[in-house]
């Protein structure tokens, strides 16, 4: 009898103890909630941060270089009148390489525009606007306004490349309705000369020809809202585009981004001839998030205007001038140099300890198999971030990443928000 009762009593006692422990925890939590919370800053229209960075690069021959950067970023989104908004966004990067006597400043005017809310569902914007399209993460075939938009490259992180670029001067209108939206924009040619002065507005980079875009989003059902785009630049053929995301399950979002139209290849553009034919660009990927706050993205990218494997080999074997001219064009247009690429990203929030975020990114050229690896550890306090970044480029001498002068690059960053 005792042998039966003992475990039963022990189990009952254990259950009672656990229940009491849970009640005690609840009471402790409620007492904690009674304490006055620290005051919260009121909402405001502007954001300002200053970032300092120190970098250390190693080249293929074992040589090394040092660099320093001090950056300031300011954004303002304020209401001038009930229906009028002013949006300003600017960034200044001051760099030094080697010594502090050898400095260079680059200002990037990201946004400077006025917005008029003509009605609940109608809006008009005019000014310099950093407009961005595309649902993919590593390569955006429908983000046509990315071309020539980067003045100062501070990181290979795709988020940074999208953020730190100058807008194009344009007139933009948007009409919304229940279940859809249409946006039309016109960006005129203002200059055909690019200028690299520190504070130059560099309109020749963003407004080098007349461009127009029409984007329409239609809701098919609650979870399916494709976006259709039509883009045309003066002297070019119309380009079609589409963006679609699908919730595959509670933890996975799959996406596809496509653009297509008659256009010259990048090689023809670099060499100055026309070989127009219908070319597709595609990004296809998915992001999966685990219960332990880890998000994993895998993406396949295709650029029908890039060089195929044979063409890429031939370019590497030919004139260095032609090779680097092609590389410079691809970099300015933020394109893929060859047909196929893979992009993978892992972001782990509150990794190991609270407030520590670890991010890793891998780019693989699908044709020459060179790789770019980028890792970041970022710890954040309330108004301060401290980050350590490491980048490694690997591949054969003429490959996409192997040809870069730096093999490895370390960078320490500190960001202070105000």
């Amino acid at each position: 009898m005792n042998t039966l009762l003992t475990p039963l009593l022990a189990a009952l006692l254990c259950t009672a103890t656990l229940a009491r422990a849970a009640d005690d925890a609840d009471l402790a939590a409620l007492s904690l909630a009674d304490t006055e919370a620290a005051p919260v800053a009121p909402a405001r229209d502007w954001q300002l941060f200053i970032e300092g960075a120190a970098g250390f690069g190693v080249d293929g021959a074992g040589g090394h270089d040092q660099s320093q950067r001090l950056s300031g970023s300011f954004s303002l989104d304020t209401r001038l009148a009930p229906d009028w908004r002013l949006v300003l966004s600017d960034r200044l990067d001051q760099r030094w390489t080697g010594s502090f006597d050898d400095g260079d400043a680059v200002n990037t005017l990201r946004d400077a525009y006025l917005s008029w809310q003509a009605g609940d569902n109608t809006a008009l914007d005019a000014g310099r606007i950093n407009t961005r399209y595309g649902v993919a993460m590593g390569y955006n075939p429908t983000d046509w306004f990315r071309a020539n938009a980067i003045r100062s490259r501070v990181s290979e992180d795709p988020g940074s490349l999208r953020e730190n670029r100058q807008g194009s001067v344009m007139l933009r209108g948007q009409q919304l309705w229940d279940g859809g939206a249409a946006t039309a924009l016109y960006s005129p040619e203002l200059s055909d000369i690019r200028r690299d002065g520190s504070f130059n507005l560099d309109l020749g980079a963003t407004n080098y020809r007349d461009r127009g875009l029409l984007a329409v989003t239609t809701r098919i059902n609650d979870s399916l809202s494709p976006e259709w785009l039509l883009y045309r630049a003066a002297g070019g053929e119309p380009q079609l585009g589409a963006n679609l995301t699908v919730l595959a399950n509670a933890a996975t979002v799959a996406y596809v981004e496509w653009s297509g139209g008659r256009a010259s290849s990048l090689a023809a553009l670099a060499a100055g001839y026309d070989d127009s034919s219908f070319r597709n660009r595609l990004a296809l990927g998915a992001t999966y998030t685990t219960t332990s706050k880890l998000s994993l993205t895998l993406e396949y990218d295709y650029n029908g205007a890039g060089l195929d494997d044979a063409g890429w080999q031939a370019l590497q074997a030919g004139s260095p001038l032609a090779y680097w001219r092609y590389r410079a064009l691809v970099r300015d247009l933020q394109e893929l140099p060859t047909r196929h690429a893979w992009f993978a990203r892992a972001a782990w929030q509150d990794a190991i300890i609270s407030h520590l975020d670890l991010t890793g990114m891998l780019r693989i050229n699908g044709d020459d198999h060179s790789t770019l690896t980028w890792l970041e550890a970022r710890y954040h306090w309330d108004k301060t971030d401290l980050a350590l970044q490491w980048q490694m480029n690997r591949g054969d001498a003429g490959s996409e990443y192997g040809a870069l002068a730096q093999r490895q690059f370390w960078q320490v960053l500190m960001t202070q928000y105000f």
Binding site: D26, L27, A28, L30, V40, L176, A181, S223, N249
Partner: protein, 255 residues
């Protein structure tokens, strides 16, 4: 005659004594207490404590309206603080979730699992119509302590998800027998693991109804992780249908 009348009276008494309320109606009543019936906005301040120390604070402005057809709430959530996140937005329409970062000008679709990463995971607890997504069963009556540590006689409801795409597979909820106010709730994962316990407290008259202005959330795995949500600034809002889509996010700037 007397005998049959006595039987009838006894039967009536017995029926009254055991008149169990309809669990689903009770759940709907708690929804109506937590959620205003017309489009509204409010400010939520989330304060997070770890091991008794305040570790994080964030403020969200929530704009919400119930879907005309299904009754499901659709919300626009704007991050006001901390400064690093100020201006970021989340659009939530069922499991259709979009996150907008004004810095990158990007509207990114996120999965329900991804939404759980941030503090905003708790931010929409205020606007969930549980009666729509769960089938309620009356489990019994219990005396429980409420969020103010007062003893309350409560109905205990067991909520089972009727739709597969909800965040919590199972919920237990205690409802005040006197006034149908939600007292506390326990949220469970598919595996049966307790994810969080929530206490609804500090009831105040907001938009014409006595509503909880604080929710204290205790993590199921780590009871020393406590999040306090304080709701204020309630107001009726006109929220046009056109706003509740990702294309509107860059334009959303509440006054």
């Amino acid at each position: 005659m007397l005998k049959s009348s006595l039987y009838a009276a006894l039967l009536l008494c017995a029926t009254v004594a055991h008149a169990a309320p309809d669990a689903q109606s009770l759940l709907a009543a708690t929804d109506a207490i937590r959620n205003p019936e017309k489009p509204f906005s409010l400010t939520t301040t989330l304060t997070e404590y770890r091991n008794g120390k305040q570790t994080d604070t964030s403020t969200l402005a929530v704009y919400s309206k119930a879907d005309k057809a299904g009754g499901e709430f659709r919300s626009l959530i704007r991050f006001e603080a901390p400064v690093r996140d100020a201006g970021k937005l989340m659009l939530k329409s069922g499991n259709d979730l979009w996150f907008y970062d004004p810095a990158t000008r990007a509207s990114i679709r996120i999965s329900p699992q991804q939404r759980l990463l941030g503090q905003a995971a708790n931010g929409d607890v205020v606007t969930v119509n549980l009666a729509k997504d769960y089938k309620a069963t009356l489990v019994g009556e219990e005396d429980v302590q409420d969020g103010e540590r007062q003893a309350r006689h409560a109905y205990k409801l067991a909520l089972a998800a009727v739709s597969p795409d909800v965040t919590y597979n199972k919920i237990e909820m205690w409802v005040d027998q006197q006034n149908s106010r939600p007292i506390k709730a326990k949220f469970f994962a598919d595996s049966g693991r307790l994810l969080k316990t929530a206490y609804y407290r500090r009831f105040e008259n907001q938009l014409g109804v006595l509503r909880p202005t604080e929710t204290v959330i205790i993590d199921g795995l780590d009871p020393n992780w406590v999040t306090v949500m304080r709701f204020g600034g309630y107001g009726w809002r006109d929220i046009p249908e056109g706003w509740l889509q990702k294309d509107y996010l860059p334009r959303f700037k509440p006054e």
